[in-house]
Symmetry: C2
Subunit: 536 residues, 2 copies
């Protein structure tokens, strides 16, 4: 396959991230050895896939000459765009299996080219998959098996900050820009979007908007929904563009129907988004507790006190041991405050007072009000683990291991029972399917009325059977979440993998109404079919 047909540079076709950072054989062997010792069993790894060995079905569609210049039909791009990074995606890709690649990947460099690509694909009766960074972990960019032809439109060519309004702290930005490039362009203006999901490196502004991405920050402005002033979206019926406003009470908010639409209504090409000045003042603390319950209680009290910490993250004892270096008996509360304008020591003092009243012990403290150099502690260890996580996971492929995460949100009153139910059901599923397994939990976000718990599980599988085994465990997790009253997804979106849970969570009449709304924009039902609504 000709290298010259590549439009995407640097990316690995199977692993998270860059080709240059694919795990080495030594890294994988070391990861396998650690796993083997953790589970007390022998593990044999397999070698990563090679592009030359990959076989793809032939493209069933050819772009017209007018579009060919910005379209690709080669093996690399079609493989890269064939799915996201869910557990089944990771396993399939590692095996070199790409069941449903798109027939054509379009890389528009202008909105006009995006319109031309959409019009051509739509009039060809092709399913259209809007694609940003491809970081979906829920099948959100996977072409449906039943589609007779598929065009994926990769929007990363629309990657410029077009206009900056310094006084309002906002910018008009093309939706295909990846996180680091977005921040680099804003840096020149001493501004930041300050939206850092774990997928930041390989996800786009448009992807964040349509999946209702949640950033790294724990409270207040962390959801992309809150950053959006206006959205420009191309649809089969024309351009949808909302007015740029700081607030409005004029009818239902048009932006809020695009947020969460997951590419089923159109292709977002631009948005005006709210920015912030770079933080200059910072305080950070780690507080250890005798278990998860008092740490959660402290987090609840801090967030209900309206202190609005930038970080207020709870790690259960398992997570604290694995990723922050604590003993395994302690839960860790990570607290952070940031401001571009005013010192944060007083807010941190208020938060720590609450944490200590709730039985916490400060084990890490840094920031403007802490004199002298501070040695890296559990908070730093946790941060480093968090950032490197997707790359570490690359090393775990090929051992038959089953590892995944899922997240929810639940009100505080139901949280303890919710957690018990999820742990019980997931533990049983892992024992039944795999004989054993680990399950950790942390709160990624805390709201005045409840936490957003994020669970990570790992269990040994059988190479070749991992996906089936995962499906059983994932189904158990989803059922437990829905039965216990949580949301099927706090920030991973619905995609194709969460449709069953979504159908139980969202009001039936809302889903019917949304289908009517979609039909008015996408009468042939070609935009990301199967996402949000299941295959039809």
């Amino acid at each position: 396959m000709a290298q010259e047909s590549r439009k995407t540079t640097g990316r690995s076709f199977w692993a998270w991230g860059l080709e240059a950072l694919e795990p080495t054989a030594a890294q994988m062997a070391s990861a396998g050895a650690a796993l083997a010792s953790r589970f007390g069993m022998k593990l044999t790894g397999q070698a990563p896939p090679r592009l030359q060995d990959v076989k793809l079905r032939r493209p069933r569609l050819k772009p017209p000459a007018t579009l060919a210049e910005f379209c690709a039909t080669g093996k690399f791009e079609r493989a890269l765009h064939s799915c996201g990074h869910s557990f089944p995606d990771r396993v399939s890709k590692f095996r070199g299996e790409f069941a449903t690649p798109p027939d054509v990947v379009a890389f528009p460099r202008t909105e006009d080219e995006a319109v031309a690509a959409l019009d051509w694909a739509y009039s060809s009766g092709a399913a259209v998959i809007p694609y940003g960074g491809g970081s979906s972990v829920v099948g959100g960019v996977t072409p449906p098996a039943e589609a007779e032809r598929v065009v994926t439109i990769d929007l990363t060519g629309l990657n410029r900050v077009l206009e900056v309004d310094r006084v309002s702290r906002a910018a008009r930005i093309q939706a295909g820009v990846l996180g680091p490039d977005l921040e680099a362009q804003l840096k020149a203006h001493q501004l930041t979007l300050r939206h850092f999901p774990q997928s930041f490196e390989f996800s786009t502004l448009g992807g964040w908007i349509v999946t209702r991405s949640a950033g790294h920050y724990a409270t207040n402005r962390t959801h992309i929904d809150e950053f959006v002033e206006s959205i420009r979206m191309i649809t089969p019926k024309g351009i949808w563009e909302s007015r740029r406003l700081p607030g409005s009470g004029a009818g239902p908010d048009p932006n809020r129907i695009v947020c969460g639409s997951e590419g089923t209504l159109g292709l977002v090409t631009e948005a005006w988004v709210r920015l912030q000045a770079k933080p200059r003042f910072r305080e950070s603390a780690g507080v250890a507790f005798a278990g998860l319950a008092p740490a959660a209680e402290a987090a609840r009290r801090i967030v209900q006190a309206n202190l609005w910490p930038a970080n207020c993250r709870v790690l259960d004892p398992g997570e604290s041991a694995t990723n922050a270096g604590l003993t395994g008996a302690q839960a860790l509360l990570v607290i952070g405050f940031e401001s571009s304008e005013v010192p944060q020591a007083s807010l941190m003092r208020d938060a720590l007072d609450i944490a200590m009243e709730t039985g916490g012990k400060i084990v890490d403290r840094a920031g403007d009000s802490v004199p002298g150099p501070v040695a890296p502690g559990p908070v730093d260890r946790w941060r480093t683990s968090f950032i490197q996580m997707p790359y570490r996971w690359n090393e775990l492929l090929g051992f038959g291991l089953i590892n995944d995460t899922f997240e929810s949100a639940i009100t505080w009153d139901r949280w303890p029972d919710f957690d018990k139910a999820v742990r019980a059901k997931l533990g049983r599923a892992m024992r039944e399917v795999a004989g054993k397994g680990d399950l950790n939990c942390r709160f990624t976000h805390v709201y005045p009325d409840g936490p957003a718990p994020y669970y990570s599980f790992t269990c040994p599988g059988r190479p070749g059977s991992e996906v089936g085994m995962w499906q059983e465990i994932k189904a158990a997790a989803s059922e437990a979440i829905i039965a216990a009253g949580g949301t099927i997804t706090h920030h991973h979106a619905v995609g194709r993998d969460h449709v069953a849970g979504y159908e139980q969570e969202a009001p039936e009449l809302f889903r019917a109404a949304f289908r009517s709304m979609k039909s008015s924009l996408d009468p042939s039902e070609l935009l990301n079919p199967g996402v949000l609504s299941g295959s039809r």
Copy 2:
């Protein structure tokens, strides 16, 4: 007309508020004299209407015996429910003119009765007007003239707090509860919704939700949209109920399509809403500036510093003179901080530092950190004016006066030109229509990316011609707002009066999509017809 057909107690059929607080002849004479001296002209008042003189068209529909017990067809209820409190509404009612009263007003006491009323009205082909407190200033509860029959469903019988979750600080509340009753019921639990729109006394939770009400607080949690955990709504197609969650990323937020739907999708009967503990710590300040521009600049800097004041209100020199007792040369910035948990002095200090750097002079200061009793200053005077405003307006009827308010929101970069354009266009319209007029402005809310300006205007009209004159001035204001890039409404909603502006503001494809969504729930298009979409 038999008194026994009344279901609503205490309300005036023509004035804002209670019958017992209708203005006396002496109050009206005194208000008229003040106006006459303000405009340098002779003003003759007219007497308020008497119910016995009011003539209503006959009811064109009769409730079935099964519903009769909770329905009213008498003059008082039909007059009371015939419109809201817009300027034309106030003038018509004062004249005793009720052009389009509903034929039947239903007062369901349970959700089952609300369903029965909706089913009967819908199957009768009647337009259905959901009615809460009736405080609409945009024609949101006015039966359309072209409807052949109209049933208004007054939901104030659904007025109970059903369930309180203290740990999550949330409650399940029936949507027909009026503000004071809601707060009284929550007080027993030491909790508050802390949502205080100016209409608080005569508006309901459900009304707030469907109109995207904005509360008294200037930043952060002030919009009802942010307080909603879940909504229960009855529609012609059945019950719409969202799951109670602190956050979710599962598809577009179903609650956000109900927020702003203004009764066109169904009748909201219940909601789970987020509550707060009662504030215990308070700081308040008034800061005077040499004009509106530096006061606005200070507000912008304070809100962009993420200090999240409960109050951050800017009054222009005219508003500061009229309602806060300042000189007429100064603008006033009102700053307030509140917390249930921690002292607020440090945040106030940060805010005042910014205000003084921007040229402000502290003219009022109160709160926990201010020792001793403090005499009421401009901030108190302003608060009292604000609360009494709707009652004061009752006294101004019958003099041919034209007085109204309108609000918008605009990003900071465009604010100065927006304000200039609005003042120029409105000033011209008032001069052309009325020869003269006053126009004041304040910011009701400030966002990091822009203010929500609220304009009040008063000019002399000709008794009998006020409504036509108002229409010209209102049209000029709406055109100016839309042309200068603002929203047609920040928190008064669209109703019937703002449809023309709304059609220019909201994306055309969104409005088409929303119509499709509505059709799926309301196939006969009988729910509040004409609201949001114009008469058809």
